[in-house]
Amino acid sequence: MSGALAAEWTKLRSVRSTYYVLAVVAATPLAAALMAWNGAHAWDAGTAEQRAAWERSQPLEAMFLPFVQLSAAVLGAMAITSEYATGMIRTSLTAVPSRSAALAAKAAAVAGPVLAAGFAAVSATHGIVRLIIGDRPLGDYDAPFLDSVPLLLSLGLSVGAVALVGLGMGAVLRSTAGAIVTVCALLFVLPVVAAFLPSPWDERLAGVLMPDLAMQLAGAAEDPLLPPMGAFAVMAAYVVAALGAGAVLLVRRDA
């Protein structure tokens, strides 16, 4: 198992796509900084009515989260779909014949850097935005930093979860495009679908979808459907379901 993990880690580090994805993640704090700078200017020039409308805006690290999550899903999916695309999966499975061990090694190798990059991206976003916003009452940036820690941890954790869902879907579908489309559906399409459902089903569905889970996990959601532990359990269920389905199919199918 340690050999399999070392191999997956080496694989991940030796292709450019990994660094491209991390570069995209690293760019999000910069994009958030521009938005914050623009927001701060607008606030200073704004009328009292406009300010009242902006006051309760979502924190920027949460707004940018889906982009970080999607990048992470690409990294997770590519860890296995690039092998199906090239045929290298056969070499991988002759080197590590236990397929569940092979997938577990991939999951561990992806989770480490993705969690680190996720935490770094949301923390950097928060820190930079906080500096720019200053004491303006935009979002919650005027609250003490320690109050933000649970939110940052939850957002970072959700980035790791989405990456593993991407990996699991990659193992199931054996296609990068298929895996990414699935993750996009979870992150962007289903929330829209949920919004069109009649009440109370709209909130019930939205509450268990990926985008809302991180805020509920942090206890930062208004009107949460789930308590933090419940949100954690649902997030974990996504990961277990995706990786479990991937593992079962990987073991059963001929390579």
Partner: protein, 304 residues
């Protein structure tokens, strides 16, 4: 040591491998021959644990592949040389393989040297020619210094230099006591390389034999040419041989050996332009065994 026992593999209604049994012993190169689609690659995939057999077994050193703890140190395999990530360097490709089986990274440099890729170790594989990728695939197979090698069509698409290199390498690996299984759909490749031949067609075993035995089995009479053919025909027939006239004018004689035919002709003063044992080439033998071009075999007769 490879043992394939009563191996059957079905894909839906198609039977790719049908009750196949054979062995590959240490110290020999075994050619695994058959037309495209005969089940060679499927057999190799089952042997390497990539596909599950419908019934029967394929064992390496007495165990199923999945039971091997450090498989690369027991079996080296090359299935498809182009199945590599083009963005990775040759060195990194071998490095992850080495790590997966706890093989020291120093070994990577050794095998790169052995296959002649040391100079391009830090280049991305995407820029490699097919020949270079084949060499990289061989390097990967040799990485764990395994006693068993399984190579699927390793000379496909290679230039003559590359073909000769692989031929010599396979002979050398067998001479070191390794069991080498090499598949091919061309007999001409195996003639020069293999000690033993396992010939399959439509998933079934057609022949499990040595190269020499196969050649002897397809020995068919003696070819004789003479400007006084009619006279010779009579003399040979009178001596008890059965004689056929070949379409190109020569005589195919069975029942007498070359020496007797020569003596008979000399006794009658009949000049001979050609007398030689008429063996089917291995290529023809193979074609006949696999039900390939039998019409061509009959018409062509002996081949120089």
């Amino acid at each position: 040591m490879i043992e394939v026992r009563e191996l059957t593999k079905r894909y839906g209604p198609t039977t790719a491998v049908d009750g196949l049994s054979f062995q590959v012993s240490p110290g020999t190169v075994t050619g695994f021959l058959g037309p495209n689609g005969a089940g060679k690659s499927t057999t190799m995939r089952v042997l390497l644990g990539l596909a599950a057999p419908t019934s029967g077994a394929a064992l390496v050193n007495g165990r199923r592949y999945a039971e091997l703890r450090r498989p690369l140190c027991e079996v080296g395999a090359l299935l498809d040389a182009t199945a590599v990530h083009g963005g990775r360097t040759a060195y990194d490709h071998l490095r992850w393989l080495a790590r997966s089986n706890g093989i020291g990274v120093r070994r990577v440099a050794e095998v790169l040297e052995q296959v002649g890729l040391a100079g391009v170790a830090r280049k991305r594989v995407g820029g490699f020619s097919l020949g270079m990728k084949q060499r990289l695939g061989i390097a990967a197979a040799l990485l764990g210094n395994p006693g068993v090698l399984v190579l699927d069509e390793p000379v496909n698409g290679l230039d003559p230099d590359g073909v000769r290199w692989i031929r010599r390498l396979l002979r050398a690996l067998a001479a070191e006591g390794r069991a080498v299984l090499v598949s091919s759909h061309l007999m001409s490749e195996m003639e020069m390389t293999a000690d033993r031949l396992v010939i399959v067609d439509r998933g079934r075993l057609i022949a499990d034999t040595s190269v020499k035995e196969l050649a002897a089995r397809f020995q068919r009479g003696v070819l004789v040419r003479s400007p006084r053919q009619g006279e010779l025909f009579g003399a040979l027939a009178a001596a008890g041989a059965s004689v056929d006239v070949l379409p190109d004018g020569g005589l195919s004689v069975s029942g007498l050996d070359v020496a007797r035919i020569g003596e008979l002709a000399a006794a009658r003063g009949i000049p001979l332009h050609e007398v030689r044992p008429r063996g089917a080439s291995l290529e023809e033998a193979y074609m006949q065994l696999t039900g390939g071009d039998t019409a061509g075999l009959a018409a062509e007769g002996a081949r120089p």
